[in-house]
């Protein structure tokens, strides 16, 4: 189910993808099941090329290591990532699913309410919740940088 999710989302808007994610998370009865799903997502994350696993690409503010790389494919921004912790990988996978293969301006404009709607933040430890905020910030920063380049 999860392996081709990143491909399926190619022609959807950020809002549509976020709605899908919210729907998926509402299907589960409890947080153990949601974590199992996050872990599955983590295992299917499009991995960052090893050459980009540099300190420059490390997201600061995360307790476990998270690397994110962004590059333009036409007018769309494509993210790849990795982490040494699988749940963190799952969380970044959710974010990448929502924001990858989108135009930088759309990423900049996107709201992130879906994070609150799936209740992810309150089920993370404070350090992980901070990490999540740092991840979103980093994805948006990449979008700002590439938007400037496109202009």
């Amino acid at each position: 189910m999860t392996s081709c999710i990143f491909e399926q989302n190619r022609n959807m808007t950020i809002q549509e993808i976020q709605n899908d994610i919210v729907d998926e998370f509402s299907m589960f009865d409890d947080w153990m099941q949601r974590y199992e799903y996050i872990i599955e997502l983590g295992k299917s994350l499009p991995l960052i090329d090893d050459q980009y696993k540099t300190d420059d690409n490390l997201i600061k503010g995360c307790q476990s290591k998270v690397w994110v790389h962004a590059e333009l494919d036409g007018d769309k921004l494509v993210f790849t990532a990795d982490s040494d912790a699988i749940i963190t990988k799952g969380i970044i996978a959710i974010l990448i699913r929502a924001f990858s293969n989108q135009k930088p301006q759309d990423i900049i404009d996107a709201d992130t309410n879906f994070i609150d709607e799936i209740g992810l933040k309150e089920h993370l430890s404070p350090t992980r919740a901070n990490g999540l905020v740092s991840m979103i910030k980093q994805l948006k920063l990449y979008a700002v940088a590439y938007q400037t380049q496109l202009n």
Binding site: W31, M32, Q63, D84, A85, R128
Partner: protein, 413 residues
């Protein structure tokens, strides 16, 4: 899970648990299994009552008021100091300095030593220190030009004492070591460390933060120069602790902070400092915390440290055996002498992931580097999962931890 009972002494853990209201709560819909005692211990009702009683009846500032409430609060605070003195078998109550905790005590001594050290002097720390027992000494060395030397450790997490003896020489001025490692649980041979340091004329500070809840130390017998503890690791509240210093050292050390309470006489030309212990207790202290610290010691002594140590030893042995039945689990810190801490990882799984799943099952453990990054670097790992036990934990809780670990492993691998 097992029919083997570890309760070989008369220790009645079920009755003791009733003293701790927090142990009844649920976390994520599951009964709380609290195994993060090395970070902070839980508080018994007897201590909570003392805190409530203080605010109900005699909350006042101490040592300066003429009124009854102030007198009562001062008396209670000083009685607490005497309880601490008695507990650690300290010669004089004025050698007990109330601090905000271990870190405060260490910084007080490290700052005070600035004027005693010069370039070329050496200070020694152990390889298994908490950051709070590394950084203040590094700062001291930067200020004075002294050199920091490190006692190395072996893979079992034991200090290599031959190397320690080689490090000592007539330039050694200070030695710092924790009594028990917070990350590995190793009980360090502080008697030997203290004796050898004194032979070359060096002073010794022992960080007792992790030891004090498990080992009742006789500080006169240890002949240690400084010993620091935090109340919150031994059933007391946060924000209060003790610095013990030998009288001669406390007289030599300059005051750490200036303020009220620590003076004898103040003019704009000159201030003379108050006698011990007030010289080091500037400002209004954590009065209620100090009184509750005394109550916490009463509580633990009522149960008895021998009984606590024996029970915890059996619990840790049981937990070690049970955890090792999980394939791929490795324990870090396998010293011959250790207490109440098991640090471990499962091959291929990040400790944060395990901690997250355990939390969903109501099990509180610590994950990460435990403020001891040099130890993690030594083992070349990002961190560990740490289960740390107290006398109110049970065999059933250990079983839940092991079951939780198995479940986490299945999910994560």
């Amino acid at each position: 899970m097992t029919d083997r009972s570890i309760l070989t002494n008369k220790f009645d853990v079920d009755t003791i648990r009733k003293d701790f209201p927090i142990l009844n709560r649920k976390v994520n819909g599951q009964p709380l299994v609290y195994l993060d005692n090395a970070a902070t211990s839980q508080t018994p009702q007897q201590v909570i009552d003392v805190i409530v009683d203080y605010y109900h009846r005699y909350n006042a500032n101490i040592h300066r008021g003429v009124h009854t409430l102030s007198q009562e609060a001062t008396d209670a605070y000083e009685v607490a100091r005497q309880k601490i003195q008695k507990h650690f078998n300290i010669a004089h109550s004025y050698e007990v300095i109330f601090t905000s905790g271990t870190t405060h005590g260490i910084n007080l001594v490290a700052t005070g030593f600035t004027s005693f050290l010069k370039k070329g002097d050496e200070v020694i720390v152990s390889a298994m220190e908490h950051h709070s027992n590394i950084v203040p000494w590094q700062m001291l060395c930067e200020r004075t030009g002294a050199t920091l030397k490190v006692i190395p450790m072996n893979l079992d997490g034991e200090l290599i004492m031959e190397e320690y003896h080689k490090l000592l020489n007539d330039r050694t001025k200070l030695v710092f070591c924790n009594h028990v490692s917070n990350a590995l649980g190793t009980i360090n041979p502080i008697e030997e460390i203290i004796e050898a340091a004194h032979k070359v004329g060096a002073a010794v500070l022992i960080d007792g933060a992790q030891a004090a809840a498990h080992i009742k130390s006789d500080l006169q017998e240890l002949n240690v120069d400084f010993y620091v503890v935090s109340a919150h690791k031994m059933c007391g509240p946060t924000g209060v602790g003790m610095l013990y210093g030998k009288e001669e050292w406390l007289n030599k050390l300059p005051p750490y902070q200036g303020g009220g309470e620590m003076i004898a006489e103040v003019t704009f030309e000159k201030t003379t400092y108050a006698d011990l212990p007030h010289k080091f207790e500037a400002g209004t202290p954590n009065i209620c915390g100090g009184i509750a610290f005394g109550a916490a010691l009463d509580y633990m002594n009522h149960i008895g440290f021998e009984a606590i140590a024996q029970y915890e030893e059996e619990l840790m042995q049981y937990a070690t055996e049970q955890l090792l039945t999980i394939e791929g689990l490795r324990i870090y810190g396998t010293a011959k002498h250790k207490t109440s801490v098991i640090s471990f990882n499962i091959d291929g799984i990040h400790p944060y992931d395990i901690g997250t799943i355990l939390d969903k099952l109501g099990i509180a453990v610590r994950t990460g580097h435990h403020c001891a990054q040099p130890i993690m670097d030594f083992y070349r790992i990002p961190g560990t999962v740490r289960a740390s036990f107290s006398f109110y934990n049970t065999q059933e809780e250990v079983d839940k931890l092991v079951e939780g670990m198995k479940r986490a492993k299945n999910m994560l691998l």
